[in-house]
């Protein structure tokens, strides 16, 4: 369904399935076709506190799209196109070779330049140089991995994105933001009452979430750089399920102030909500379509929780899910074509994907307590919460279900409710 657009001249090999643990990433599996690529250690990077090429390798391997070709024994290591021994790389079955070098520039900054070479045609696919401080080496590596990913697959890389999630430790709830690979986690809010349903503003500057700090759920937005919090909905009853409109100007929320949980729209700065649904049934978990014209949501108006959509301007709801008696927690892919959600089947809660054009549903996971699926901004991966050994962890599955990994970072306690942030602005 989501075949990777590889360049026609490159051989597509059957991957052997990588199983090695990489830092905090546990790759669970996958098969499928993987693109063999050699990332040669960058010249002079052994003087840095961090191996940039290793972070690039980890990023690309984690995507499931690439298979890393072993570079041990290659001598000398090439950093210029003229230094590449192509027959050697072909014998290692590499279809692409990445070479690079680090050099100090003014103000203690570093220039990292790299090239992606086609091992068959012996031509350059792309080249770029990134200038960063020593403290920003991980960010530089993610930016390089993004450029390689985009050059070879045609899709945007998501290695420079961030995620937000909730960690529950004992009675404490932490709202944390980290890089998409789990590094650099920062607690942006701690509470002794539950925190729920974090979600990103489209520009990545704010998160919205549900807090029980007043003993009942209210909706709060928070500026991530200043920490400024704003209560945008604290009406009678429950205030929950916030989601931003694509233009960032409004929020859709679920409120029970007039009856049971119904959908409302309100300005991102708060104010008087406008009621969107009037169903007499539970309506919750709204999510905007990327074009801003629709809202998908969960309703039990048909007798069981199912996913529907309704025009943002109001009107009749159209049912989208029909398989099974429990389909919840929709998230819309950035291209508008797919909705991922949680489907219950025989008591097991699993990540599923619905292709809207064809109405085809595919279950992507084989676990039993999955929650909160969230699309990567390129639509290729879905992050979700699941249970391993009775503990909540974050996991990722590709949109075709073939590739899986878990984020098993050092945080103790239950990790839950991931939301994948937008692409950074360049």
């Amino acid at each position: 369904m989501k075949a990777i657009r590889l360049f026609a001249f490159l051989l597509v090999l059957l991957g052997l399935g990588q199983a090695q643990a990489q830092l905090n990433i546990e790759i669970i599996g996958g098969a499928g076709k993987q693109f063999p690529i050699a990332i040669v250690p960058f010249r002079n990077e052994n003087t840095l506190p961090l191996s940039v090429s290793q972070v690039v390798r980890d990023d690309l391997a984690r995507s499931g799209v690439f298979r890393m070709v072993d570079t041990t024994g290659v001598s000398p290591l090439p950093s210029e196109p003229s230094e590449i021994n192509y027959p050697d790389w072909r014998s290692r079955a590499a279809d692409a070779i990445v070479i690079g070098a680090v050099r100090p520039v003014a103000n203690g900054r570093l220039e990292i330049s790299f090239r992606v070479m086609d091992a068959l045609k012996q031509t350059q696919v792309t080249a770029l140089s990134v200038t960063k401080s020593t403290a920003e080496l991980r960010a530089a590596a993610h930016q390089i991995a993004d450029a390689i990913y985009e050059a070879l697959t045609g899709a945007k890389g998501v290695f420079s994105t961030r995620i937000v999630y909730v960690v529950k430790q004992g009675r404490r709830y932490d709202l944390q933001v980290s890089d998409a690979d789990g590094f650099g986690a920062q607690t942006v809010l701690s509470s002794n009452e539950p925190l729920m349903s974090p979600t990103w503003s489209p520009d990545g500057t704010h998160v919205a979430y549900v807090s029980f700090e007043n003993k009942r759920p209210i909706v709060v937005t928070q500026n991530l750089s200043t920490g400024t919090r704003r209560v945008v909905a604290q009406f009678r009853g429950n205030n929950s399920a916030p989601t931003w409109s694509p233009d960032g100007k409004s929020l859709a929320v679920a409120l029970s102030r007039d009856s049971i949980s119904q959908l409302y729209l309100l300005s991102a700065s708060g104010g008087e909500p406008v009621r969107l649904t009037n169903s007499g049934s539970i309506d919750t978990e709204p999510i905007f379509s990327p074009d801003g014209k629709w809202i998908a949501f969960v309703s039990d108006r048909g007798g069981s929780p199912q996913i529907y959509r309704i025009p943002v301007t109001g009107g009749d709801a159209q049912r989208l899910t029909f398989n099974g008696s429990y389909n919840v927690s929709p998230d819309w892919s950035a291209d508008g074509k797919n909705i991922t959600f949680i489907q219950r089947e025989s008591g097991k809660f699993r990540v599923a994907i619905l292709e809207l054009d064809t109405n085809q549903t595919q279950v992507l996971t084989d676990s039993s307590l999955d929650e909160s699926p969230s699309f990567a901004p390129n639509g290729r991966l879905i992050m979700y919460a699941t249970q391993v050994g009775g503990r909540g962890v974050l996991a990722v599955v590709s949109a075709d279900g073939r590739w899986k990994y878990r984020l098993t970072n050092s945080v103790t306690g239950d990790i839950r409710e991931p939301a994948w942030g937008p692409l950074p602005k360049n």
Partner: protein, 178 residues
């Protein structure tokens, strides 16, 4: 916190175990009773005659022999219908509210931990609302009953198994002053 305090209290009361029958609708004002005052409750079997309305120990809400001390309504999976077995208890609380106009309660809806947290929040609200509706139909005042949902966020039982899940699919009645 409140729930823990309440169960501790009930255990204390159970340990003291009065055999004296209580009037269900003893005219006791809930707000007159602080938990501290009610906690020592009956220390001897004869300590709490039903007519002794002035003493803390006659509070029917705290008497383990009284159906009003039962505070939890349990629900089937995905459901928010009050099962028949809980109707006598709900009716007793409705009667208490109609006979004690100053009494107020909060019904707290809960769900098991599985599935969508947001849907569970809404489902917990439905469960709390179902208990409230059952009481207001019987004459309890709309303003006497507040409902709130904790969804799956405040699970009483934390094992991932059916027994716990069934314990967590629950609405709790908490009186003001409990």
């Amino acid at each position: 916190m409140k729930r823990i305090a309440l169960s501790t209290l009930l255990i204390a009361v159970l340990a003291a175990c009065s055999s004296t029958p209580m009037k269900e609708a003893a005219p006791v004002k809930v707000e007159d009773k602080s938990p501290k005052a009610a906690a020592p409750a009956p220390t001897a079997p004869q300590a709490a005659p039903a007519t002794q309305a002035s003493a803390g120990e006659t509070n029917p809400l705290k008497d383990p022999k009284n159906i009003l001390s039962k505070r939890s309504v349990y629900f089937d999976l995905d459901e928010y219908v009050v099962r028949d077995e809980f109707k006598p208890m709900v009716q007793a609380h409705a009667r208490y509210l109609t006979q004690n106009a100053s009494a107020h309660m909060t019904v707290q809806g809960n769900t098991d931990e599985r599935g969508s947290r947001e849907y569970n929040l809404a489902l917990g609200q439905r469960r709390a609302d179902a208990v409230k509706k059952a009481m207001t139909i019987l004459g309890a005042g709309d303003k006497q009953i507040e409902t709130v949902s904790f969804g799956e966020e405040k699970a009483k039982c934390t094992q991932s198994e059916e027994f716990c899940w069934s314990q967590n699919r629950r609405a709790d009645i908490v009186y003001q002053g409990d």
